[in-house]
């Protein structure tokens, strides 16, 4: 579904992504894990068009994304849930979700809203509440729900567990697993390697802008190297 081939991304003089290639197949959860500054978010931002790669190609459903502007990429079927729960703080929960469907025709939105509420019953309870008054976990759910409102073929989640209490992290990952069961293809970026590997079909480990190791989620979770470096022995 998504084929990333040899991309190189720079922040000014800093060479942040050094020739990364990976792919996401239909129906999979693929995770990119790695330490701070390894380039995980940079890769997501490049796929969603916020940053540009100097070389290589990104193909989505066999069509190149190279020069497509960010707002058109959403229309192609990629939803990006950015890092740090970026919700529209002054809008209500429901208005936030409606914003997620901005690129779609109005016709299917109401039905789709109900589907998102089924996945996130908590959001339905708070539909009229101003998003800025939600807790961190609820804001993360809202950001994910907003991503789903564009009815994406590929959902990209950037560190959904960041700054959440362990019990909320578990909840978020349960939701990710249930979205996967419902057929959504997911590209997940995480620092919480243990949780990410437990839900992922395949995983790539990033180290300073390069892919160091790749394999299935189970393989990597069992590998000694990964256990020592990322899972705390």
């Amino acid at each position: 579904m998504l084929k990333v081939n040899d991309i190189n991304v720079y922040y000014g003089a800093i060479h942040a992504i050094k020739g990364v290639s990976f792919e996401v197949n239909d129906g999979e959860i693929v995770t990119l894990i790695g330490a701070n500054g390894a380039g995980k978010s940079t890769i997501l931002n490049t796929v969603s068009g916020l940053l540009r790669s100097k070389t290589g190609s990104i193909e989505f459903l066999d069509k190149p994304l190279g020069t497509v502007p960010a707002h058109k990429i959403v229309e192609r079927g990629i939803a990006h849930v950015p890092e740090g729960r970026r919700v529209f703080l002054q809008m209500t929960v429901e208005e936030n979700l409606e914003m997620g469907a901005y690129t779609r025709p109005n016709a299917g939105v109401a039905a789709h809203l109900e589907r998102v509420y089924e996945q996130f019953p908590r959001l339905k309870e708070r539909r009229r509440q101003i998003a800025g008054t939600l807790s961190g976990g609820e804001q993360q759910m809202l950001a994910m729900g907003r991503g789903l409102m564009s009815d994406p073929k590929l959902l990209m989640l950037d560190e959904p567990s960041m700054g959440l209490a362990p019990i909320l992290v578990e909840q978020i990952f349960e939701i990710i697993a249930s979205l996967h069961k419902a057929g959504t293809t997911i590209l997940l970026v995480e620092q919480n390697a243990r949780m990410a590997l437990s839900v992922a079909d395949r995983a790539y480990v990033l180290e300073t802008g390069k892919i160091a190791i790749s394999g299935t989620g189970k393989e990597l979770a069992a590998s000694d190297e990964i256990r020592k470096a990322y899972l705390g022995g």
Binding site: R86, T103, M149
Partner: protein, 353 residues
Amino acid sequence: MKNLKKATKVDFATYLGVTVSFVIMYILQTGGHLSSSIAGQLVPICCFIVMAVSLNLVVGISGELSLGHAGFMSVGAFGGIIAAQSLAGAVPFAPLRLTIAIVVGALCAVIIGFVVGVPVLRLRGDYLAIVTLAFGQIIKDLINCLLVGYDSHGLHIMFNISGLKSINDLHLEETGKAIIKGAQGAVGITKISSFPAGFILVMLALVIVLNLIRSRSGRAIMAIRDNRIAAESVGLNITKYKLMAFVLSAAMAGAAGALYGLNYGSLVASRFDFNTSILVLVYVVLGGLGNIWGSIIATVVLYMLPEALRQFSNYRMLVYAIVLILVMLATNNDQLKALLRRIIPTRKEADAQ
């Protein structure tokens, strides 16, 4: 009225308030009950209401700081004056000529708005403030170089960059008229602005801005203000919506400028300097960012205030500043806010009920 949304009710109250105030003032004016100083302020107040409402679109709704709003007013004023003066023979009916002048003024401001907005709105941060600040100064100097006259051959426009030329270098015919005489500004303007025209322009600006805010595009503009990255991630074209707000605001400022310019016999470019931009910004900030009816009230009160303070003579601006500070303190006072909320429920509480 009960099934109407709260926002719609506020909009209707705004229209109603403006209309009622207009009718009262108009009756007083035609009846000759207004002092000449107040009657003379009616049209400028309408112009500045349009200025404040349009600036609120950029600063309050779109969340970008613009410090050169008077520049667009200036472009609109001189564009409108040129149109009205040169069409004096062709279109003798004054209200029609005024309408044409206002449209021309708005179009001139739109063009300049694009020129300023297209490069700057792609950037993040304070660049718009810096560039609009410079723009306000540049436009003033450019208009000071402008020589425009009109005769049977049509418009003569000359750019007096060297500073050595004068209106005589246009070589107008005997019957020709000078319209803009460089640093002396526009002279011999036929005053065709009227209070009803000002009212119509205010209503037009309100209809445009209030409907925009409640529309799909307005929601997008506010989403970009709230969180740029989230807005980008849901597929909004950031530059397009920012430009839409900015250019629309420039157009309304241009229209207000044309009305303002045609209210006086002569007009110099330095009337629209940095102070004027800041004055409008003060109206917007004191009225409340994003609050349209607040802008209207703040404009009326703060425009009248210096006149009302004439008795303080030399201390006038000092008292003006103190009043501004007191208003700011009062509107930030929690107890006063709570009292106001009891009278006018806010959106959150209205939704909770």
